[in-house]
Assembly symmetry: D2
Homo-oligomer: 364 residues x 4
């Protein structure tokens, strides 16, 4: 079945392989009238671009985005927005020797089993480059959200055992790991260098905070806001776990602690604490929405690994080429994008929740 | 927007409130020819029924299911299967006094914000009774899976701090907490009794193992098998986190450990380890599929809590009535059901992945 | 795949067979706050009920609807609305003799080919009784539309060769054929009596006019308002054609005639004529929306017919039992319902078409 | 809401405006392993290309298609197939003078009302060029169908009053109007020349025959094969009516004539006649599937027309530029494409209709 589309009111459909001609996204159902430029989108794409630090692959892609449709005179028209990035630095020959090998931790084996063969160049569709489409769409959604006072901010919460002990969002911009804690960033850098020396790789956790979201977003029961965020985040390659609010810690606490008391602040209902991560019963409660994604270590490592090939032989492989020792920093903008898309979709859905809203809209 | 439907090839649409006339589910797209009886479904429903141990609410619901359509002469017909459970023991008066109060940790506040008012009787649509429809659908899906050699088994992995140190699936049936470790079950019981004495409640983790699933299930990129399982599980009320395979632990390990080596076993490609939890690149890899859901402590506790009411006043409430000190054991069959539904959906999707499959099917 | 659900923002999922325990519908995504009672819905259902004239089957069904969920204190709650009609007068034995016969013009053969067997009682799922769910949902949608000044009115445009030469909507209520032209109704009655004498049946055309719909409904390109209306109407059993506005007549006219000139009336853009049937480019243009559905003669006739049975034998059959000599009058409310549902769905969609709408909604 | 996607198992998402940078389609869920080249697709596109006869616009577009993803080593990979045609001959200046005018019969007015403004260049998204994406996708689907013995053939059934009196599919290729009747084509040419002399335009009917489709395609009740074909065809701009089999003629016949008798032919159940157009109860019955679409006269005519502009002034316009006096011949391949897509989608759906199919597929 078709699995490349996400969303209900707005949909994003991503396409493209790591070493194909191009990658892109079609965003459909996006509202008309948003001012947007290729530069706005490029800014987001540059955050996931390779080659930005010693911890990211040196692949020299410009990753320049083109708006092919859906924008006229600088504004979205309401019709599908097609965005494309052409692949430039494809180095197909690099990958020739692993065309028939199933790399451990990669999707080579399952793609071959599923489809009968696979585009083996750079991981094909299962490459991290697939996220280009998500980030391009995320740029539009984030801009739309900013116009109604909603911000979506992701950062690296931890790498390996090293977790941030504070969240200073300004600090996040000061280090290549996008960690909001300078000290943690420093330690994480050392840890990553050690990993690289060992020809090994590291994992981590990305956290995202959504501020300014109104109450009422998310639809019971299968389209709960957290259920959609969970799908959105786990759909990112390498994510193996998702938490909302206190996440797995809720399993060890008690109701008297975990329940967030309501109180009145300036005439508004607010919560004394935010263990719920801004979502109750699958619906936003007006507090900050907080989600986390656990990201596995880059599967491509230079160490010799045991595996098998398509002929059914047990072999050893050494993966050369350009690979990030850690995916986490580049995943930050992807998490942010998927959250932004999910929130926009939920915002649109909420507008039809009540008969009074519909009557108000069509009153004249 | 409509949020009560889950699935692509088969869909389940649940309906009903805790204290309405009835609750149920419509299962559409279910294949024709499965032998099924009300007893088969009832067996599953009885596993989530209240009143089964001292740790579950004493509400005396028979929860008897009726098949209203889609089954003829004992077999599914291919047309929508409508299943209904009538509410018998509604005790509406019990809930009258909290009609205008926003209970902490509950969806009262967000439903009121979203829809302008709410069915306050027993949590209305946000009640755990909503899962009746899921479990009834899960019974059908589990039966279908068993016919092709796939089993879906969930159990309580931990309650509070007490985690199982072994997985003995037979033991699971011996204790009311559905823990596959007798010793852990014993300790968890003591912990829960302490919680009850404190008028408090506990959380825990449910784990589910799917055995016998073929490779190739799940569709890149947004319909990844793990992304759909994540949506499925987080859509269950009270779930605040989801893990696949090693889950959040992957963030602290390295690639050389986390990568599962492939080897050949009896001519088949298998994995030496299963850190991936049976899913690579969003597609089943032939190993056991392993997922976990973190479940928060029951929000209804007898302790006095600070909250607000619809009039915007800060008040204190004491919640009386029938409530489980822990939801986890009753959530086990819900997790199992959602996994079974997700797997059936993915099995159907995979059948059209290749031109050769289509040609084979239509060859004559 | 699942085919029993219609709609995007609101969805209706119908279920049930002619002679099963019950039939019904789940309406999901319906906005909160509409006052609705079982009587409101019953009124619609009574319009499709059998036994109302000599031209409709004498089957004595009460067809009493029950609201099972989604309505609290007389108002919709925003959660799924489950409506059910229990089958009372099932006469299963009547149908025993045709259990293995493929009736000409019926779906017996194709259901058996598709699913391997079929519920042969009264046509099972392909019975006209399936429309009960549609009409129940249509009642809610029509009530919602009336609150924003939109009316949906269907009537019998023609039966056999006899077409209305005028549209007097009051007259429609005066005859059992729901024809808005008394003279045509008279002639059509005579024609139908002749058909009955011949043990034959008749077809006809139902027309539906939607007044008061705003401009801007319908989404390019596959969710055009007319494309969805076409799907909605052809999904009704026995419909073999659909027209919007001038319909097939456009094929014989010229652009200079068919183009509706725009002019200004009271400061509003209006059309001089309405060949377009109120839809341009798939989007409502503010004029009356006009659609027509061609309905085939009832396939169940008493004449001896040649056919085959499941054993592959050529046989002759005589269909006895209760059958309408013409379906058209009972289809009127079904057409009206499907149009109402489609319009509500489009109204909700339009509310998110512009950034300015979203900003206005979330402005505080 | 998002309206640019069609299909359930395979989906096509079209994008692009008449005078934007490019137009295209993303085909998702297409099975892996079909041999396909840009030439295969180009062949289809060339059939809808402008400038092929005196009855089509002289706009000189190469309309060269590029495969951007989803095809590797000449075969589909199972991942989304992105196809793009860049706009070359855009002549933006031609359209400057009608930027603020609502052309009669066009979507200018409704797009402006819906979205607040519009891309006025060449009709923007409502241009016939949108069908490029459909035809590119149709080429792939037709090729897949041909591999399992299904052919989809559309042709011009009538132009104005001139209808084909025979269907000689070879003759169809001999005339630029794609009419399967040389005599009718001759007369239609004369009629069109007269229309052009009058600065007027003509409509017509396209018919499509699908041969070789198995029984069992289409899903009750809203995803009936004819309901989806109806949506597919009416979603094509300018289509104002759809018929299946005898279409509107069924309204004037009787059951004894309209019912197609079943008989046995070579051990197979066949129908004596095919009034049903190959579809009973919304499911294919093994006979030829026959559908028709009524297409309105090209709204762009050179005659002076009365209309209004965005300022609300009543004005007269003369539309210059390149326009087809009749759209019908170029719509033939679009109808064929939409039918092919719909059939492929239904074929995939049918493969999961029975438990026995699923068991057979997963038997080892």
């Amino acid at each position: 079945m078709a699995g490349s589309t996400f969303g209900n009111n707005i949909t994003i459909t991503t396409w493209g392989e790591s070493h194909g001609a191009a990658l892109g996204v079609v965003i459909d159902g996006f509202p008309a009238g948003l001012s947007i430029s290729e530069e706005d989108i490029q800014e987001y794409l540059d955050r996931r671009k390779p080659g930005q630090s010693k911890f990211t692959t040196a692949r020299a892609e410009g990753d320049s985005v083109r708006i092919l449709s859906g924008v006229f005179e600088g504004k979205t028209t309401g019709t599908p927005i097609s965005l494309m990035v052409e692949n430039k630095d494809q180095h197909s020959k690099d990958y020739g020797n692993i065309a028939t090998t199933f790399r451990p931790g990669h999707a080579d084996f399952v793609f071959t089993e599923k489809y009968g063969f696979r585009d083996y160049r750079g991981g094909g569709r299962s490459s991290g480059r697939e996220t280009i489409g998500r980030v391009a769409a995320g740029a539009l959604c984030a801009k739309l959200l900013s116009e109604i006072g909603i911000t979506v901010t992701a950062y690296t919460k931890s790498i390996g055992d090293i977790a941030c002990s504070k969240i200073d969002l300004k600090e996040k911009e000061n280090n290549k790991l996008y960690m909001p804690d300078a000290e943690a960033a420093e330690k994480a850098s050392e840890y990553l260098e050690a990993c690289m020396l060992n020809q090994d790789s590291a994992g981590g956790v990305v956290e995202c905070i959504i501020k300014g979201a109104p109450t009422g977003l998310g639809d019971p029961v299968f389209e709960k806001l957290d259920a959609k965020l969970a799908q959105a985040l786990v759909s990112i390659g390498a994510v193996k776990g998702v938490e909302i609010g206190d996440g797995f810690a809720v399993s060890k606490t008690t109701g008297s602690i975990n329940n967030d008391s309501f109180r009145i602040d300036n005439g508004k209902v607010v919560k004394e604490t935010n263990h719920s991560g801004g979502i109750l019963g699958g619906i936003s409660d007006g507090s900050d929405i907080i989600v986390r994604a656990a990201i596995k270590p880059t599967p491509s490592i230079s160490q010799t690994q045991a595996t098998v090939n398509e002929a059914g032989e047990e072999i050893e492989i050494n993966i050369h080429g350009r690979h990030d020792p850690v995916i986490v920093p580049r995943a930050v903008v992807v998490v942010e994008s998927m959250c932004a898309i999910t929130i926009v979709d939920a915002l649109m859905s909420h507008m039809t929740d009540r008969v009074e809203y519909i009557k108000e809209f069509y009153k004249n």
